[in-house]
Symmetry: C2
Subunit: 192 residues, 2 copies
C-alpha cells in the first residue's frame, strides 16, 4: 500500500494562510479564489485536503482557537481573579489589534455571519464561545477573591462581554493604545 504523488504544500501553513483571509474578510466575504490564492493551491487540492469551504473554516477556527486564541486558557491558570481577568481583557486587546493580523476577532466575526448558508459556521462559533465561557465560569466558581457583589456566573459573562466589545471596537478601527485604556478602565471598575 504505497503513497502516490506527494503534496506540494504544507497543510498547516496553508491553514494559516486561510486563517489570515478568513480573519480579515469573514466567512461570507471570502471566496474560494481568495482562499486558493492565499494558500497557494488550487481548488481540487483544497477540497481533497480540507473538504469544502465550510469544513475548511471549521479547521481554521480550531487552529485559531488553539493558536492566537490560546491565551484564554492560559489566563485561567493565573493565581488571582484580578490577574485572570487582566490577562483576558489585555489578551483580547493584543489579539484583536495585532500589527500583522486583521483587526477584530474571527470568532466574534463569525458569530455575526447572518446569511442562511453560514449557519453551520455560526453554530461552530457559538459552540466555541460556550466552551470558553464555561471554562471561565468554573475557574471563577473556585475563586475566593471575587470582587464584592458579583456572582461567578455573572462575572464570567461580563468579562466575556467586555472582550467581545473590545473585538468589535478593534474591528471598527480603534487603536491598541485606546483599547488598552479601555481594558484598564474595566479592571479599575471591577477591582478598585
Amino acid at each position: 500500500m504505497p503513497g502516490g504523488r506527494p503534496r506540494s504544500f504544507d497543510a498547516d501553513t496553508a491553514l494559516d494562510r486561510a486563517l489570515e483571509v478568513f480573519w480579515r474578510q469573514g466567512y461570507e466575504g471570502t471566496s474560494l479564489i481568495d482562499l486558493t490564492t492565499a494558500m497557494g493551491i488550487n481548488k481540487p487540492s483544497l477540497y481533497a485536503a480540507f473538504g469544502n469551504k465550510e469544513e475548511l473554516f471549521g479547521k481554521v477556527l480550531a487552529r485559531y482557537l488553539e493558536g492566537p486564541g490560546g491565551y484564554t486558557s492560559a489566563a485561567l491558570e493565573a493565581p488571582t481573579t484580578r490577574e485572570v481577568v487582566r490577562l483576558l481583557v489585555h489578551g483580547a486587546v493584543d489579539l484583536t489589534t495585532g500589527q500583522e493580523t486583521a483587526h477584530g476577532c474571527l470568532c466574534v466575526k463569525s458569530v455575526q455571519a447572518g446569511g442562511p448558508d453560514a449557519e453551520p459556521v455560526r453554530r461552530d462559533a457559538v459552540a466555541a464561545r460556550k466552551a470558553g465561557e464555561a471554562a471561565l465560569r468554573r475557574r471563577l466558581e473556585q475563586a475566593d477573591d471575587l470582587p464584592p457583589g458579583h456572582e461567578p456566573a455573572d462575572l464570567a459573562v461580563l468579562v466575556h462581554t467586555v472582550s467581545d466589545g473590545i473585538a468589535v471596537q478593534a474591528a471598527a478601527g480603534r487603536t491598541r493604545e485606546e483599547l488598552t485604556r479601555v481594558a484598564e478602565s474595566a479592571l479599575h471598575a471591577l477591582f478598585d
Copy 2:
C-alpha cells in the same frame, strides 16, 4: 408637469421590511431576492426608489439609527451619569434581544462585514459609531458625577464597548434575562 403611475408600495414600510432582513442576515448575507421578497416589490422598483443595494443599506441604516437606535440620544438627556449609562446598557439589551426583531445590532454586524465590496457599508457603520461615541463623550465631559478614577473619554469608550459586547452576546444567542444581569453587573462595577 403631472405625475405618472403611482407607487404601489409605501417607501417607509418597504424600508422597514428591508431593515428586518438586513438586521437578521447582515449586508453580505442578504441577496436582492431576499430584499425584494421581503419588501414586496421587484428589482426595478427597488432600484428606482432606493438606488442599488449599497445605497439602500445606507437608507436602512439611517432609519435604524433614528428608530430602534434612537434610545442612545434620548439616554444622554438623563440627569445623572449613572442614569445615562443605565439607559444605554439596558437599552442595548432591549434593542438586541427584541422578540419581534433579529438578535444583535445592525450597526455592530455591519462593522464586521469583511468582504471587499462591503467596505463602503463598513465605513457608514464606523461613521455612525464615531458620532454616537462623540455625543456620549461630550455628555460625560459636562458631568460632575463621574465614577472616581474615570476620565470622560475613557468612560465613553468603555460604555460603548460594553454595549458592543452585549450586541455580540445577543447575536450569539444569550437571552434577554442573562444580558439584563450583565447590564446590572456592569452598572454595579462602575457605580457601586
